[in-house]
């Protein structure tokens, strides 16, 4: 029977099908971090059991970590306590631990791929909804809750009903200044924030084929923002070139075997999806969000729609615009910006800093804007220095912070104050996501750069001749 890429990877990992219930799915690799793991370890302790496969489990600290002065003790006692708990649990159960100060420390969805933990055709879970990122490699990767973290620690398995299948094709070529982030925000704006709930997505078509791994990770990362548990892209030469030779990638004979498996990972020509969408990539503009969920996005030159033109209830829509301090029919261009945040598991990779730097080169940071540039890992941080980007950024009045989740979720010290407007390359514009009362507009690193040098929402296409 014809199978989709998703079917092939899922079916290979099913240990048992429960009648009238979920599948028991074997998990190849389990990533953990400090926020969603401590209660899972307590559960193991109370049951008196060990981690079944510590060698398949990897721990990094990212949500609570400060992004300046990482050599100093963590000031917030609650954060410090949670970070210490991860370290103690990792040691006790024999799990490799990349804590604050470790060379491999960074955002879990940035370091996983960098060190080759992420492999095509694998099943990967983490107690974090943006685990969908790893689907860029043709893996089945999805976020889980803490009970499920405990389940995977204890048994390396998870119980999941098999999701339905959706394919999203984006054809053609992207226009100047249009990045993978814009493609993702465009798709979410079309499907809405719940349009893919219950589905696992495969992204296909020329636009994704031409993307780098960094770009594919940005797209797959945002799959959860339309409700999909995950999104994946069939591995190709780009994928294999990225994976080969990384620390945790298979080596020697094991690599040859793995490669033969990777080459089977594509959807059969006559495989059927439960739902399919096709969009023309050449019509996508740089995007920006105007509301309080990632589905509330529009092309940057457009106006905020009337309530009558959006799906859902008027009261919810009005609450959302009220929170943002925006009105129907207003243009986004020219709106004042107080903060710019470039980073997160969505856009904290080298390509994102290259894009940002290409636009600000030779310009100056706008005076009234606070700009946080936060690499996703030490590798990204080093690349920024090695490629000479830091010199250009410094010249333009910017500085670089240290790796971590930073201002994406208002859990560490990097918070946007109440009422302030932030252009963020992160993934969520929910009320209070970047700090109580903070107002977030999601966008690409290029739109963020345009805001950083002008102090307002600006179409990046008007600012540079040659875009990366």
């Amino acid at each position: 029977m014809s199978k989709t890429l998703f079917d092939k990877v899922w079916d290979r990992h099913v240990i048992r099908k429960i009648e009238g219930g979920p599948d028991v799915l074997f998990i190849d690799r389990h990533l953990i971090h400090e926020v969603t793991s401590p209660v899972a370890f307590l559960g193991l302790k109370s049951r008196g059991i060990k981690v079944l496969y510590p060698e398949r489990t990897f721990a990094t600290a990212d949500h609570n970590t400060p992004t300046i002065n990482q050599h100093l003790p963590v000031a917030d006692p609650l954060s410090a306590n949670q970070l210490n708990a991860l370290e103690a649990n990792s040691k006790e159960y024999g799990i490799s631990y990349w804590g604050l100060g470790h060379q491999k420390n960074g955002i879990v969805h940035v370091v996983g791929p960098e060190y080759g933990i992420t492999q095509p055709g694998a099943t990967i879970v983490c107690g974090d909804s943006h685990t969908s990122t790893h689907g860029a490699f043709g893996a089945i990767a999805f976020g889980i809750g803490t009970s499920e973290v405990e389940m995977v620690l204890a048994t390396q398995c998870i119980m999941q009903p098999k999701p339905k299948k959706m394919r999203i094709n984006v054809t053609g070529k992207l226009g100047k200044g249009v990045t993978p982030k814009d493609v993702a925000l465009f798709i979410i704006s079309q499907l809405t924030t719940s349009g893919a709930t219950g589905y696992f997505v495969e992204y296909a078509g020329e636009v994704f084929e031409n993307m780098t791994m960094e770009g594919r990770m940005t797209v797959c990362n945002l799959s959860i923002e339309m409700g999909a548990r995950g999104g994946m892209i069939a591995p190709d030469e780009t994928t294999i070139n990225y994976v080969k030779g990384r620390e945790f990638s298979p080596k020697g004979e094991a690599w040859d075997k793995a490669l033969a498996y990777y080459q089977t990972l594509k959807t059969d020509a006559d495989a059927v999806f439960d739902k399919e969408f096709t969009f023309d990539g050449s019509k996508i503009e740089p995007m920006i969000t105007y509301g309080t969920n990632p589905g509330m996005g529009l092309g940057i030159s457009n106006e905020i729609p009337d309530a009558s033109h959006v799906e859902g209830g008027v009261a919810t829509y009005e609450k959302s615009l009220g929170y943002m301090g925006f009105h129907e029919g207003e243009s986004m261009i020219g709106k004042k910006v107080d903060y710019v945040f470039v980073g997160s598991c969505t856009n904290g990779r080298i390509e994102d800093f290259r894009a940002f730097t290409s636009l600000v080169k030779g310009k100056r940071k706008a005076e009234d804007v606070t700009v946080w540039l936060v690499p996703g890992s030490h590798i990204v941080e080093q690349q920024i220095k090695d490629e000479g980007l830091l010199d250009i950024l410094t010249e333009a009045g910017f500085s670089l912070r240290q790796p971590g989740c930073s201002a994406c979720l208002a859990m560490n010290d990097d918070k946007v104050p109440a009422g302030k407007y932030a252009v963020s390359t992160s993934n969520r514009n929910f009320e209070g996501r970047q700090g109580p009362g903070a107002r977030t507009m999601l966008a690409s690193p290029l739109v963020a750069a345009a805001a950083a040098v002008t102090g307002k929402i600006t179409d990046p296409r008007t600012l540079i001749e040659e875009l990366v």
């Binding site: 190849d28 209660v39 954060s79 709930t197 969520r428 109580p436």
Partner: protein
């Protein structure tokens, strides 16, 4: 963690007729720093429930004394966003045992089922009827019957059935969890792992 078995729940309900209530609203990230599962109910809907100076926001349903009960009724697409199970913990810890909505986000729904909160998905029409009934009489009682898989507005007798897998239903009615089941498969898992090297 053990939870109370769920069979039949009769209770008044607290209405939150807002769509796309994400888990950052249910519990903001700054309250996720505990290393034990205690006290999350205090911060349920923290920023909708309290002002910046920690005084209660009087117009929010949880602060309105006319509403009470063990059932929370939310708008469409309840629980979207972050996978934080703390959102489900906060709901349970506050005293809710059931959330009714016309649509749930996936991860939140799984998290609820895993900790003993029953997510009941009803049609958009029935959700409207529930909101209207609570609006007309905040003491209106709803019966959620897990064995029968029905939800009933007791004031009018209007009833709708809901879906849940046999497996999860059995778990909730008996207070079982998935780990007990999976631990019984240890040998099978070990054999399977050998064929799937790292």
């Amino acid at each position: 963690m053990a939870y109370d078995k769920f069979t039949i729940l009769r209770s008044s309900a607290v209405p939150l007729p807002i769509e796309n209530i994400d888990t950052d609203q249910i519990i903001p990230a700054r309250f996720l720093k505990a290393t034990e599962r205690v006290g999350f109910g205090d911060n349920l809907f923290r920023d909708w429930r309290y002002n910046a100076d920690n005084t209660p926001k009087k117009d929010f349903a949880l602060n309105n004394p006319i509403y009470s009960g063990k059932i929370l009724v939310g708008g469409k697409n309840f629980g979207s966003g972050s996978s934080r199970e703390h959102a489900a913990w906060a709901i349970y810890d506050y005293g809710f045992r059931c959330v009714i909505s016309s649509f749930f986000a996936d991860i939140f729904k799984n998290n609820c089922l895993n900790i003993g909160v029953l997510p009941v998905q009803v049609s958009a029409e029935f959700a409207e009827k529930i909101f209207a009934a609570i609006h007309a009489n905040p003491n209106t009682e709803i019966e959620v019957n897990l064995p029968e898989q029905t939800v009933t507005l007791l004031s009018t007798g209007e009833k709708e059935s809901f879906d849940i897998s046999h497996y999860k239903k059995d778990n909730l009615m008996n207070g079982f969890d998935d780990i007990d089941y999976l631990l019984s498969m240890k040998k099978e898992i070990g054999e399977f792992a050998e064929q799937l090297p790292l």
